[in-house]
Symmetry: none
Subunit: 210 residues, 4 copies
DNA sequence: GATGAATGAGAATTCATTCAT
DNA sequence: TATGAATGAATTCTCATTCAT
């Protein structure tokens, strides 16, 4: 089981680096320094491995989301902060899920994850938006659509800057994200200040550049 | 030249259907019913073909964008309508470029197009936003970031509905797009009504479903 | 390792028979009756195989030359005899190296071997010539040039006779080789009698005919 | 006919540069800037072209050799000088024949030429050696074998020096060639001085280096 | 659990050659 | 003479997968 997980970990790295199609079983076993046969001891096909990666990733996201959503007595803003990777117990690796949302590097992987992750993340965001509407800090008639559009926006803004953005450009980008977030969620200016001070940044900016 | 274009057309179809990596030269020549050698009469490598596809696509987009941007005396809203595929003379095929913006089905293709298309589309959108700000109908301090975030949003909202959306869901989606657009651009409610009545829809919804 | 060596052996045969360019991987695996993939299990490219052949060949030559050169107390003539394939422990296959010296059947192979073999063989011959000069049986001011010219001559003379030489022609050739050798090395007539009685003959004549 | 000859000239260049196998018909027509079809208007196959090159080359050598051999009243030494490319009317291009003798760059070409050139060159050299023996300046019992060995030696000595030989090395090489030549032909020291002062050098040294 | 030899289908690419115009 | 589109077999190389040990 520990060995199987090692395969998943290494393959995840490689798939992310090079893409699913461009990573061969040979690449994987070479990096692990084991024989090729061992791979087929644990997995039936290459596709099978992809599924396993996604499954594990989703489990992590799912449970960390559930953890954040189950906490009692949080405001919508606090709950968002709870969802934010750096605050939540979400593992470092699965932070990448958000970045994957905008990674065009590889088909199969991205496709699968995006499809499945929406099942958890988007509904959670949608629920928090509804909560915020109830609390009166957000205002929108379309929480579902806003959820997905907002998540997407957070990633896309990072693409407006060059690969090596200057500090000023980073500030500008964050300010834009803040303004756009408040507008999309229908929040009063300043409401999201604290949430987006350095919001999703470790993730979205560096990761989304490429 | 006509034959070379046929290659580009057929390959574009196949790459979009199956992805670049999953389409073999054999697939292409089989669909065209020519010998494999003919492919290499016109192209040096498979990569070369991809470049040719993108080049042709970009030419179409570029010229249709230029056409729309050069018209005199248009308001920002009118200019957006001019950019809209259904209104402009842009060919049906190159409408797909917008959808490609959010198509993660295939790396190389998407990557190339996105990178290059941004050179034309995003700056054009940014310019129109600035014009709108000058005209007083839009209001934002971040036209650049808003341009990219807005374009992205238009595509992403389509993912909130299932593959075969009901008429009600389509209406809902459009309404959400309208509200989000007005908010992002800082426009008064109703301002974009006419623009987004059925706007970009042929493109983003069907095309983005996959 | 045994299988890899089998590849080297079979490829060596085929390359010598047909030439490097005219031998396909298919030819090799067909003669070995294995799958094509196995070839690439052991070698990265066809070029890689060529290198391996040459490497193995050179190792054999090198060690057999070193063996001959390290023996103590031999006269120059004795040392030449020691170098002679038929006398030394040099494997049958690598005898061909001398013949390769004049085999123009194929570029890459010949080129590589010639270039690398000179590093060992020519210097050894040069050293022995110098020793012979010291011993007073040879006489030349140009041991280096004589070494290479002599080696070349031994091979080239074989080409003076037709493909299927009569015994008389063989005798004539050997006599010519003897006279020319003694003249080139500056040795008294008869000095090399014993050395060239049947000298290098198995190699140069048959092998050089083609 | 002029066009056909152009093909032969260009192909000869390319075959010498890159080798027969590594030169494609495409390479040839591209350098001539004509259509591929034209090639097949003049030649049946690629092999056919090779034959034509060799034929033309041999015709040139043959006639220039015949010219040199038919002259009346020359001594052996004078006749050798007549054979020497720089002295004889042999065309610049066909000088290369001598160098080809030691060019390992390409199989088929070299093979063909060597085989056929021997028919003319070696017998001519042999005849001159016999004449020299009659004149008493040479002395050998094996004119035939000496002819081929001598021609080969002249080329091989060039390989004793590095690719960019110093003037001293060139002098040394020439001195070695002189000594070896006199010994092989059984000539008194100094006899060949004039002949080999700068003998075959333009050809053998530069050309044989590679 | 673990090894790595072995398979074989299929991919991209090359190239001599044909042929209608 | 001359063009260049078209062919298709051959070639190198890749890689997921199997299997005996």
């Amino acid at each position: 089981m520990v060995r199987k997980n090692e395969f998943i970990t290494v393959a995840e790295e490689l798939f992310l680096e090079t893409g699913f199609e461009n990573t061969s079983i040979d690449d994987i076993v070479k990096r692990m320094d084991v024989a090729k046969g061992l791979f087929y001891h644990y997995f039936d096909t290459k596709e099978d491995l992809l599924t396993a990666i996604v499954e594990r990733l989703l489990d992590e996201i799912k449970s960390s989301i559930e953890l954040a959503m189950e906490k009692k007595g949080l405001t919508a803003i606090e709950r968002f902060k709870e969802l934010t990777p750096s605050n939540s117990g979400i593992s470092d690796r699965s932070k990448m899920i958000v970045s994957l949302f905008h990674k065009e590097r590889n088909q199969a992987f991205h496709h699968l994850v995006e499809e499945r992750a929406s099942e958890f993340l988007i509904p959670a965001v949608e629920r928090i938006i509804r909560q915020g509407v109830d609390e009166g800090i957000f205002q929108t008639k379309y929480p579902r659509e806003t959820a997905i559009a907002w998540m997407t926006m957070l990633g896309s803004v990072g693409k407006s800057a060059p690969n090596e953005p200057t500090p000023e450009q980073l500030l500008q980008m964050n300010a834009a994200r803040l303004e756009l977030s408040e507008r999309m969620l229908g929040a009063k200016p300043g409401t999201l200040d604290e949430l987006l001070r350095r919001p999703f940044s470790g993730v979205s900016d560096k990761a989304c550049q490429r």
